[in-house]
């Protein structure tokens, strides 16, 4: 019910001030999109005609607007709930890649599936069935195959993570049948799809009998920390991002790292930054590597700009423009390497640079933080 959504997200408090639209990175490029208008339109006529508005699918759920809203309206929750109702009324956003990921998730969620997803675990990586730590790899093996033409070395994130954990004396457990955490289905309004994935994971995580779950995907972490408890209660597991794990270790232990003489900058992923407040840890990890010269982008931390697309939905020319500008900003710091801590940022920024019209002078290498830290430990 729309009226429930209005109540739940406090949308009726909207002052029509437009602060959200002024800060929204989508509006900057796509002038027809306005979070203010969507809220006002919904509050003024809660009969459901906003549901067919295709602009409902343009939001990146980047949370930028929410930090500015003087009335404390939960805009991202508004988007999430409205999309659920929109989907139920037969309206959907534009799925990128022909919606292949939705098929993948639906197949993965099936309990009769026996995945074959551990080929990346080479013999030098130590994993163990008896461990307090579990490394939740998520969709990485699928992304690695699907985006192989981007040469983004996506699976190296998983390999580097196990290497890093091994270095700190942890031989993590890994699961053969874990599936996508369900983040994207949740945020595109497919609650049933989300639940079927989550139920499968919750059972596996409970059976795994571990204390800590490490992730390299901020979206996974947000989903585990905030969304799973809403549906399944407390799992009694501490969910950590790999940068939280590393930063804790490097403050308590003295470690020797190989110097890397590079100028780098860092993209705060929306979920890791604004959602989880993990701004400091990634910077500590980067700062611990000798030789690295760290350059902050002008818009960083709370002000960091999204990588341009979310949930494989509505990736359009505005997304590309947003990515180009962000990459230009990264390059203008003088950095030669753009680090990030989210596999999707890595995919989106690598994809944007494949465009034939991408300006050569703005080209910048993009890598995940884990792969660089692993290199400093001696590499894979």
């Amino acid at each position: 019910m729309i009226t429930d959504i209005i109540k739940k997200t406090k949308a009726y408090f909207c002052l029509d001030c437009g602060k959200c639209t002024a800060i929204c990175p989508v509006t900057r490029y796509n002038r027809s999109y306005s979070p203010r208008k969507l809220v006002i339109k919904t509050v003024n006529s809660p009969d459901g005609n906003t549901l067919s508005d295709e602009r409902l699918w343009n939001c990146l759920s980047c949370m930028m607007c929410q930090l500015r809203c003087p009335s404390g309206i939960d805009y991202i929750e508004f988007t999430k709930l409205m999309r659920k109702d929109a989907r139920e009324s037969g309206f959907l956003g534009q799925s990128t890649h022909g919606n292949v990921f939705e098929s993948l998730w639906k197949i993965m969620a099936n309990t009769k599936i026996n995945q074959n997803r551990l080929n990346w675990v080479t013999s030098d990586l130590k994993v163990s069935d008896n461990s307090e730590y579990l490394y939740f790899v998520g969709c990485l093996p699928y992304f690695d195959q699907f985006f192989s033409d981007l040469n983004a070395q996506i699976i190296k994130i998983a390999q580097s993570t196990v290497k890093i954990l091994n270095f700190f004396g942890v031989e993590p457990k890994i699961l053969k049948d874990e599936c996508c955490c369900g983040h994207d289905l949740l945020w595109t309004g497919d609650l049933d799809g989300f639940k079927s994935l989550a139920e499968k994971n919750v059972k596996l995580l409970k059976d795994a009998n571990v204390k800590y779950v490490i992730t390299t995907c901020p979206e996974g972490l947000v989903t585990f920390r905030f969304d799973y408890p809403k549906f399944f209660g407390d799992l009694g597991i501490k969910f950590l991002h790999i940068t939280e794990f590393i930063s804790e270790k490097i403050t308590s232990e003295r470690i020797e790292l190989k110097p890397l003489n590079k100028k780098v900058t860092y993209q705060d992923p929306c979920r890791l930054g604004r959602y989880l407040g993990i701004y400091q840890q990634p910077r500590e990890v980067i700062g611990s590597i000798p030789g690295i010269e760290f350059k902050e982008m002008e818009r960083s931390g709370r002000k960091s700009v999204c990588c341009g697309t979310s949930c494989w939905t509505n990736c359009d020319r505005y997304s590309k423009l947003m990515q180009m500008d962000r990459l230009k900003e990264a390059k203008s710091t003088g950095a030669e390497l753009l680090l990030t801590a989210c596999p999707k940022c890595l995919i989106h920024f690598s994809c944007a640079q494949k465009d034939e019209n991408y300006p050569e002078e703005n080209r910048i290498k993009v890598a995940d933080l884990t792969t660089i830290f692993c290199e400093a430990l001696g590499g894979i």
Binding site: H97, G98, N99, V100, S103, L104, K106, I107, M108, N110, K112, I113, N114, Q115, N116, R117, P141, Y142, Q145, F146
Partner: protein
């Protein structure tokens, strides 16, 4: 689920209009005793999304028929399809569903066997692989 012995696989074949299969038919979908043929204007329409969707909906096997490389009526449609088939096979392998459930025939012209022989062989292969775990009967 079906016993292996009386297991009748559901097979979908996608074929390009120009590759010589069902060319004289106006129907976009043709039912054969052992499979269903879906005709496309060009295999350029094939994407991993389409192929995986077919498996998600319960197909036990999928075949893609297209023209030999370099002979696409629209120049590059089959090139794309070859790439998408390979990609889908690797995805099926990751999902533990076996990439062999998907077969692509892009030099159909050059083979003596003809459609029946290829399909008989494929049906046999799929029977050995067993039903698609997602199949709902």
């Amino acid at each position: 689920m079906n016993q292996r012995s009386d297991f009748q696989p559901k097979i979908i074949a996608f074929a390009c209009h120009w590759c010589g299969i069902g060319r004289n038919e106006i129907n976009p979908v043709e039912e054969f005793p052992k499979f269903k043929l879906i005709k496309l204007l060009c295999t350029g329409r094939i994407s991993s999304a389409l192929l995986l969707k077919t498996f998600e909906k319960g197909a036990d096997g999928v075949v893609v028929f297209g023209c030999p490389e370099g002979k696409c009526h629209y120049n590059f449609g089959n090139k794309n399809a070859i790439k998408e088939c390979k990609l889908s096979q690797s995805m099926l392998d990751l999902l533990g569903m076996n990439g062999k459930r998907l077969r692509s025939e892009f030099d159909f012209f050059d083979q003596d066997g003809g459609l029946d022989e290829i399909m008989d062989e494929f049906v046999q292969n799929v029977k050995e692989l067993g039903p698609n775990p997602l199949r709902i009967d």
